[in-house]
Symmetry: C2
Subunit: 275 residues, 2 copies
């Protein structure tokens, strides 16, 4: 079963660099931890055509899930649902379940401040205008409901862009939806740090260890420079059997450490010869 | 002239949420400040097909520039140039100019530490294997050269993923390449903060002001909640005439402030009636 997830983040503020996209990092980490694979992250602006194109492209790549963030609020440029509707060729309709969620929210707000009941203006009703066949998901932190839409084999989950709302809805309503698609697979990782050895010297060592323990993926993250190297080596694997997965990681760590140490000894010897 | 830029960030670490994508934010901000428009940001893993697909898709969307980050180093999973070559149907060849840059770097490193001359291993030579017709750009902070490739009307700029290297090359060699495409246009922005008024109340106010000053784009960024609102209103515009652009921004700020104050007075009056 394909367990590919694509993340689509909507917002001009992400494109102009006003806002750091912490949402996609948080989602990427959670999706991986749940045992699924984030295949791509796409950021587009607040534009119906752009959103629609991004959705159509993700459908063509045969994702199992598309998780979007942003563009569900009451302002003119909250256009995610319109973009999804366009991509799926569905109508936008007033969803009574979503409208009730929004009504209840505003009633709650007026009780809080003991103010006059808050009127359901067109901008507030807009948050209940969903693509045909949508299921609204309650937003306990904010106002705009999140939305789930099934389309053939694909599930689109539209989450708000405010991080606290996005995270709360993900944990309460999305985790349980994604988890079965991992089919019991989990993600395992470990990092080790190496100094004094250049990334270009570690490169052939990584090749060797990955050939010897092919289930483990090793990636080097240079933190220093090539001449004054500090390298984080990140080892990761997916697996259904935790003991086996950890065993493979340990085996790879041992081989890596051994080969790096041998490399250091060799170059120390060479330098001694020069001195 | 089309001045659209797409950013493509390559790296599994971005998809699994291990690394926060600060590169795309930094690039988005710089591109905007230079007067160009970032049209899309795409994040893909260290996979030749994924990189190639992302490039082909960006070409189809008729970008003027594609700026990629990551995947230029010496390890097996540094695959950006291979992905670009595949997308453009070009061969990967040893580039003598890039090879010289790399040779000089390793000579420099060996002088620094007074070590034995560093050997040009296959993993080091790999960093000089560029798509046919590439122009290498020196990397004064790190080792792997950046790469510029022209393809019909498109310019692809492949930058390293290490932020300090990426930023340094962008400022030294990319800024001057992009700037003429802004055709003298600059980006202007201002933010104002509003409390006590809900985002859903501000939404129709934004509509009004944007109708009155259509050159200014106004986006609300809720920082609090709908019941305890703290909203940043971000106003922005592109323009060739700085005075005119600032004038438009000021006009929009004045109208926004006036309408928000009126709204507050109205709701205060309503609440007094209840009390």
């Amino acid at each position: 079963m394909n367990n590919y997830v694509e993340i689509i983040c909507v917002g001009n503020e992400l494109l102009i660099g006003k806002t750091l996209n912490t949402n996609s990092q948080w989602l990427g980490k959670r999706i991986t931890t749940l045992g699924l694979t984030t295949h791509r992250i796409t950021v587009v602006g607040d534009d119906v055509n752009e959103i629609s194109c991004a959705i159509i492209e993700a459908i063509r790549r045969k994702s199992r899930f598309i998780i979007s963030t942003g563009g569900l609020g009451p302002t003119f440029d909250d256009k995610t649902l319109e973009g999804i509707a366009k991509a799926l060729k569905r109508k936008i309709l007033l969803n009574q379940e979503a409208l009730k969620m929004i009504k209840d929210k505003y009633f709650e707000y007026s009780q809080d401040g003991k103010k006059e009941p808050v009127e359901l203006t067109p901008h507030r009703i807009k948050m209940a205008m969903l693509p045909q066949g949508s299921k609204p998901i309650p937003n306990s932190v904010g106002t705009a409901p999140a939305v789930i839409i099934e389309h053939n084999n694909l599930i689109i989950i539209a989450l708000p862009g405010v991080p606290s709302e996005m995270k709360s809805i993900f944990e309460k309503s999305v985790t349980s939806l994604l988890k079965p698609f991992s089919e019991g697979t989990s993600f395992f990782e470990i990092s080790i740090n190496s100094t004094r050895v250049m990334e270009s010297e570690i490169a052939p060592i990584i090749d060797k260890v990955m050939k010897s323990v092919p289930s483990v993926y090793i990636k080097s993250h240079p933190k220093g420079t090539e001449s004054s190297p500090q390298i984080e080596l990140h080892l990761s694997t997916y697996g259904k059997d935790a003991d086996k997965a950890k065993d493979h990681l340990n085996k790879a760590v041992q081989q890596l450490t051994k080969l790096i140490k041998e490399n250091l000894k060799k170059s120390d010897l060479q330098n001694q010869k020069i001195d």
